[in-house]
Symmetry: C2
Subunit: 353 residues, 2 copies
């Protein structure tokens, strides 16, 4: 029953025999074609064709060559914003004939460390990770392996590895300022879980910073946490919006949550933005098109993915280069119809004092 597996795969020597050359020549055929004579090339090509030879890239890493693979570790693939980044990253690798090894850890940083180790065991030539918050073990491994590493999606001037991303705290400050400028006083926050997620944490801190400066205090009952999921956010928001003292504005940790809040408002037949303003962060695909359009902070996911990959590739070319590159991406607040002044804001706020 268990036959097969016996006849071994065709290797470079099989090809060599068939083409009546030495294995070295076949190797050269692939790696330095200009060093082999045209008719020999032809013979080798035919032999490969006939035998269905597929080179073994794992074998060549041995002689100290690069593996031609790059690792990427993300919290999850199933997230609009990472998906865009991953796609751009992958495209960039594709254009350089590099293969992508991917790992997902679901915001568990210890699992991230395991994945990192696993990718290093497979001898990726470079590695990219999301964010700058990683275990000490992760950082230690990157340091000791001396391969180029880059953090995507977050920027910090004092980071110890390369990083390409926006300042997430600024995104938080922007949305908070926007809501304050519009005259809102009754404000709620809905964020994803902050553990193992420095991007969300930074955004949250940014929001709170602006509120502190403005002397606005958000009661704990108006700070909610939901999974990354429009459904969960909608349910949480329904709860919030049905209460006696309803907030006039909700600041959301990302656009997916913001969509859920908008749907909740619509389900309760609230006027948006008259009775309810909603702002997200990320400006995901679809946020501009929904009705009403979602006010959000645009984050250049594709550019980060593309330029991040490029920076990593550049670092690969110089063996053992330890250069650290950082790049801070600009953010833009995109105002759309989901935010506006609260109904009768001027009067309300005055009379309330």
């Amino acid at each position: 029953m268990k036959h097969g597996g016996k006849e071994k795969l065709v290797d470079i020597t099989t090809v060599a025999k068939r083409a009546k050359v030495s294995p070295s020549t076949v190797s050269r055929f692939f790696n330095h074609p200009d060093l082999v004579r045209a008719d020999t090339r032809k013979r080798i090509e035919i032999a490969c064709e006939k035998l269905g030879y597929i080179r073994n890239r794992r074998a060549n890493t041995l002689r100290g060559l690069r593996s031609g693979t790059v690792g990427l570790i993300v919290p999850t693939v199933d997230n609009a914003i990472f998906a865009q980044l991953i796609q751009a990253f992958a495209d960039q690798l594709n254009s350089r004939e590099l293969t992508l090894l991917i790992g997902t850890h679901g915001y568990d940083l210890d699992l991230e460390t395991k994945l990192l180790r696993s990718l290093l065991e497979h001898r990726v030539d470079g590695i990219a990770m999301i964010g700058l918050e990683h275990t000490d073990a992760s950082y230690a491994m990157i340091r000791s392996q001396e391969i180029p590493a880059i953090a995507l999606w977050n920027y910090a001037a004092d980071a110890s590895i390369s990083c390409f991303g926006p300042e997430n705290s600024e995104a938080g400050r922007r949305v908070a300022q926007h809501i304050i400028d519009l005259g809102h006083k009754e404000i709620a926050l809905i964020f994803p879980d902050l553990t193992g997620n420095d991007r969300a944490k930074d955004r949250f801190d940014g929001v709170m910073e602006v509120f502190a400066e403005a002397g606005i205090v958000i009661p704990l009952s108006r700070i909610l946490s939901t999974p990354y999921d429009a459904g969960a956010a909608k349910i949480a928001a329904m709860d919030l919006l049905r209460q006696q003292a309803r907030p006039s504005a909700v600041i959301c940790g990302n656009d997916i949550i913001a969509r859920g809040v908008i749907f909740a408002g619509q389900a309760l037949e609230l006027d948006i933005p008259g009775e309810l303003s909603v702002v997200g962060i990320g400006d995901f695909a679809g946020s501009a098109e929904m009705e009403p359009g979602l006010t959000s902070v645009r984050m250049p996911a594709k550019r980060i993915g593309k330029l991040g990959a490029q920076a990593l590739i550049d670092a690969l070319e110089v063996r053992g280069s330890k250069k650290i590159t950082k790049r801070r991406f600009e953010l833009t607040l995109v105002k759309r119809r989901s935010t506006g002044e609260p109904n009768g804001s001027v009067l309300n706020s005055r009379s309330a004092i």
Copy 2:
């Protein structure tokens, strides 16, 4: 300037020396720990720790062992439905300590063939691809390499490789029947480009099949094609819906397009579903929560990803097994508020005759 790179990485022999054992023992320490004495184990462990040793998985493939990697080729990562599938697939691999090599081709099947070759060069132990439409070269490579392969997201009784997915034509039939049952006569179709996309093709064919049976003819002007993108779909739909003779129902190739159409309807202040019914396919995350909820055909993306990965893993265990496994996943039409009878349908349809 270009120093570094000189001090070579620590290998199994370095560890062996430090632990005062032979390389064989270190190897056994990792692969058959029960064969090495406890105190020796301890010494090796310490040596690894001190030296920061990271095993080289690429080297062991050489002796004919498995690589511990699995390849997955998808059209794009940046697509709600594939993202879910990929995530589930990755999770399943994670639980078996397998590493995921991923490739994306953007619906270019020749590029897919190149990617497939590249993954095979990296000696993945198994391979998964989306759909059953692939180049002859791709099929030939899979056959000749004798590694387990599986097609996800599409089912066909006569497929020559394992496949896990729903019958996409059925999805098309379902939505078409639903729209007919509601009494719609003026119907438009918006689908993504069908080239290199057998899933969309099958859905489209399913729709047309039902219409043919029902004797309904859709004028070409009402068959539109847009990119996978709510924004593009919204624009196309605005165009369509502003015309003199507006369709009362739009059937969309997937939920993203359907969302765009709903947003278009809302922007034009049409009553949904009174003046406009919209149906999608896929039932992506968020479709249930939006207002109005989107009628769609639920496709179990996560289950397909998870069970598909599991089937592949099972096939891996048996070296050289050529068993083909197929599994047809059930579809459910989820009726929500985006579809309904056309306004005054009974009268209209009668008087029109």
